[in-house]
Symmetry: C3
Subunit: 300 residues, 3 copies
């Protein structure tokens, strides 16, 4: 066994085992470039928050000139790669057009993201200031990226939107699919483990805690289910507590409902519902004699 043999065996494997090589194909979007794009986008949305040395009103136009030019160039490049990969005709001109269309949405996106930041501040007594939210709450990155990726998704850009939200997933533990439609004033507290599937619809003023999953009933159908509504619909002003799973494309959580933590919901509930585990679902015993514990009242 020597390195030369190993090299040859790998070359053979590259030739033989298809699907996980990408040789002689079109260039694919590069993860490093997508990361840089995501970082620059955050600077565009929140000017002055992520710079090393602050930003004055005088500097703002030049700052924006440089940043916007960089974002345009990179976005166009990665969109073009994505279109070429999907064998779109005329990927060059189309990428140029889609890039401008996406960038044109930024002012509107900023207005929506502003409501998300406001919802986080209003919803968390631990937050001391809006600045603390923007600098230290993971939902800010993950929602801001999802909203931008959602625009690209709606414009029909392949690959890139999913890579953008996966960058957010990697940094925050929050897996928000670019396809999901999410209303304003959206707040995810803590975030780790949250999953929102491609066809989920979420109303306004919705609050999710960490570990909440809005998933498909079953994907045993796999690729055959592509395009169908597979993920739940959540009404306005719904709160869902930690580690709860809501499943299924026709599951609707009515407006104003509260879903307790650690439950698994597979059916619709009407507006203003409260869904919790039954008290007697839990047993409290004395560890030593395994007898019941007096004076513990589980009525909520």
């Amino acid at each position: 066994m020597n390195l030369r043999d190993i090299k040859q065996a790998l070359l053979d494997s590259y030739q033989r085992d298809g699907g996980i090589n990408h040789v002689d194909g079109v260039n694919l979007p590069a993860q490093d470039s997508v990361q840089q794009l995501a970082a620059d986008y955050m600077h565009l949305i929140f000017p002055g928050f992520f710079e090393e040395t602050g930003l004055t009103k005088q500097e703002l136009p030049d700052f924006l000139d440089r940043l916007l030019a960089r974002v345009e160039r990179r976005l166009e490049t990665e969109i073009e790669k994505s279109l070429r990969f999907a064998q779109e005709p005329k990927p060059g001109p189309r990428a140029k057009e889609l890039t401008l269309t996406a960038l044109d949405r930024l002012p509107t996106l900023r207005q929506v993201i502003q409501t998300d930041v406001a919802a986080a501040f209003a919803g968390d007594p631990a937050a001391r200031s809006v600045e603390e939210i923007i600098l230290a709450y993971p939902c800010v990155l993950s929602i801001s990226l999802q909203r931008f990726a959602h625009e690209l998704y709606n414009l029909g850009v392949p690959l890139l939107p999913r890579m953008l939200t996966e960058y957010g997933h990697e940094r925050t533990g929050t897996d928000l699919h670019p396809g999901a439609r999410i209303g304003e004033h959206f707040f995810i507290d803590h975030g780790t483990g949250v999953v929102i599937g491609e066809t989920a619809e979420i109303g306004r003023h919705v609050k999710l805690y960490q570990g909440v999953a809005l998933i498909a009933r079953s994907t045993a159908g796999g690729q055959a289910l592509r395009g169908t509504k597979r993920h739940p619909t959540i009404g306005d002003h719904v709160t869902i507590y930690a580690s709860t799973t809501i499943m299924g494309g026709d599951t609707v959580i009515g407006a104003g409902s509260t879903i307790g933590g650690n439950v698994f919901v597979t059916q619709s509930v009407p507006p203003r519902s409260l869904v919790i585990l039954e008290e007697h679902g839990l047993k409290v015993l004395n560890k030593d004699d395994r007898g019941p514990v007096a004076g513990v009242d589980w009525t909520i």
Copy 2:
């Protein structure tokens, strides 16, 4: 639609949509700088573990000189920014004083963190050595950072403590608020999804598995609840299994208790309690005829 119009629309948006710009304001702590501070702090606490090329006893004093000077400079800078942001009078001299006070706690912090490492080694049969714990267990980073951030929090430093723990959250999936009071010999196994709220109190020799959340009963009150005790109290020698949520500021888990996985606890339990889901909470069916499965005994 062209880039010039988009630029103008963004400038208008920066002027119009407040709260998510930070222009002409004081400098804020920079995320990159906070990350470097966190990395240097880990080198100070665990000398010789994270250096590229090892460390000899001869090199130690010089190593410490350089490292400590760097940490002092950076910590003072970021504390001063945080104080200026909160409009503290005399942020410069106050930052100098707070920096020395915080650094002075490091030897004591090391003693506590040593007990955390010992608890991880004692508690996990998969660990082969203390070195493996320090190099490859995420709890080491998250707890070490929380304990330092907690000192800064107690000293009244704004913003920075939360940014330090959020860096730990990003890397480990473990969201430990700087305000939480955590006793020695603390071990979080695996870690992803753990959330410990601002006013939680945790005794000594406590062990949490991934996904355990110590959260507030409701934050419908939002900012009005700031400052109240909103998160649970966990006694000494308590173990809480995976994905369990404990909620509420007056919820007390008595010393020596064990809480099973996937439960949602909203009431206090006395010392030496065992809290588990009732056996009949689970149903085991045959997938094919949906009939009961013989011979499955769920008694724990």
Copy 3:
């Protein structure tokens, strides 16, 4: 209080508080180097996917030459450090031998990883292409690293395997121990919060959702339990939904079973079982009058 005193106190602490210093010891594997190794390994397994500018068939042999030489050098270095740490005799020659043995497994590993990618594509209707899976699904990184770490673990390499999977854990929230034996066509959807313990055994065509944990019944025994089978066995073609915990070394989930979300399973079930929470485990109330909600049917 001044910096000189603090420095002296830290030096005293380094002398006094053992176990969390590593001074005058052997060099340990460095986290940065392990990260670079992991990145290079991914390029070896998926040539052309992670390069900035694509890869042609002509470039492939040179690309492989350079990459393989770099991986060999780094792997040998880190294995040697790991062996020296464990006081293995002749760490140098042994590291050289183990490095070649491990690299020799790469073509076989590629074949297995190819089945994992195929399982992800087959199992997720949201995936548009195999390329999207490789570029944007976190399971690709975590499973690929675990399979390589598992080879090193089986070869008796200390420290390094655990550091490799912990790098995957940090990036994906998926904590897969190098010791776990995992069959082909393995798919973890979303991933965050998944934990697979050291002695778990997983069959072929198994699908796990985020938050699923295969853990030990109790680690109260701590280090005394090292080496025993402590984690569950999962049969072929089993699907386990989000946030479910399976516990214990003699817990066997029979082939073809489906385990619902948010359950805590501590007993074996026969093949083709369906394990779900009982319908009446959940209570649906009207939030306003706390009365029952008509028309909600929880029968699954």
